[in-house]
Amino acid sequence: MVLDSRSRSDGFAHKSRGKPVSPQKKPKRTSKGAQGGVFRAAPWAALGLAVLVLASMALLGGPNRLASALARRVSHAAGAIDLTIVHSNDTYGYVFPCG
């Protein structure tokens, strides 16, 4: 969705459909008013986040898949890894190999 500057309530210009718009005069706001704005916006931000998470879970197939996808995304930054694994099994706690 592309927002038109006319729909924005913060008074700042927004590039819309390539048409430059001059900054509008920003109305004066008291700190009390700013706090009120934050409190008014908080539920909408939370709702937006919840919708985003639910949509991601629906697309990926559940919370585990979402977390897995996030884990993999984190690892993408790490690149490939060469891992050396030395492994044993069924040593029975023997100090000297048996037989």
Binding site: P63, N64, R65, A67, S68, A71, R72, V74, S75, H76, A77, A78, G79, A80, I81, D82, L83, T84, I85, V86, H87, S88, N89, D90, T91, Y92, G93, Y94, V95, F96, P97, C98, G99
Partner: protein
């Protein structure tokens, strides 16, 4: 054990990222009256071996359960920095898992889940063991939320482990133990691998170790491997510090001939 230490140290010295893992049955076998002191002493020396060699994670083996609840819990408390894992052994007294089902290690920006799977046992008075395939399905699903590389340490046996790798998606690697020989890595699916260092047999115990060079792509998918089995024969030198410790241990007692039955 001194030869095992030499092999481990050499591999670690040349590795960029390194893990030392065991698929299980590292504490005991079913013959608890064996003349070999480290087994006869209730697994104390076995725990010391794991500590001194610096294992990252070890699966709880079905034969380890033969020690019984009290001795096993004492031995588990003596581990230092070694993670004992099993996703399917529960204590009958509490109904809870006996040890952690898995741990996650971070190496090179990747999160690696190490999940333990224990072979089934029959009629154990202290412990119940859930079917390995079911446990693998449940805990691979959980671990995927925390890791991008999934490794199972499973003593269910090579054949059972190949089935697990084929049927449970997202497993990258199974370090196998228990019955069945596996001389070469098995690849049940294009991006999973099953490897086993040695056959589970009292005629083998500790004679072989194996080294796997595994390459994972940025998403954590296994894309390359080079596997070598190493026989810990006389050509492998003893590690001096470990040999010193081994030499300080009580010597094995001569085996008494079996008593004639009337």
């Amino acid at each position: 054990m001194a030869r095992r230490a030499t092999t481990i140290k050499a591999a670690k010295a040349s590795a960029q990222y390194f893990l030392l893992l065991d698929a299980g049955n590292s504490l005991s076998n079913e013959f608890t009256t064996t003349a070999e002191v480290p087994v006869a002493n209730g697994g104390k020396t076995a725990v010391e071996i794991l500590n001194r060699l610096g294992y990252d994670a070890v699966a709880l083996g079905d034969l380890d359960l033969h020690m019984g609840r009290t001795a096993l819990q004492e031995r588990l408390a003596e581990l230092k920095g070694v993670e004992m894992v099993s996703a399917n052994v529960t204590d009958k007294a509490t109904g809870k898992l006996l040890v952690k089902p898995y741990v996650v290690k971070e190496l090179g920006g990747h999160r690696i889940a190490l999940i333990g799977i224990t072979a089934p046992v029959k009629d154990d008075p202290d412990f119940a063991v859930a079917p390995p395939l079911d446990a693998a399905r449940e805990y691979v699903g959980k671990a995927k939320a925390e890791a991008d590389i999934i490794i199972l340490l499973s003593n269910a046996g090579a054949e059972a482990n190949k089935t697990i790798a084929a049927q449970v998606p997202d497993i990258d690697l199974i370090i196998s133990g228990g019955p069945d020989q596996l001389d070469q890595p098995a690849q049940p699916t294009p991006n999973s691998l099953v490897v086993q260092a040695d056959l589970s047999s009292s005629g083998h115990a500790g004679r072989y170790i194996a080294k796997l060079q595994a390459t994972f792509d940025p998403s954590g998918k296994l894309i390359g491997q080079d596997w070598q089995k190493v026989e810990l024969g006389p050509s492998v030198a003893d590690d001096p510090s470990i040999k010193l410790w081994v030499d300080s241990l009580p010597k094995a007692q001569p085996t008494e001939p079996p008593t004639a039955q009337p």
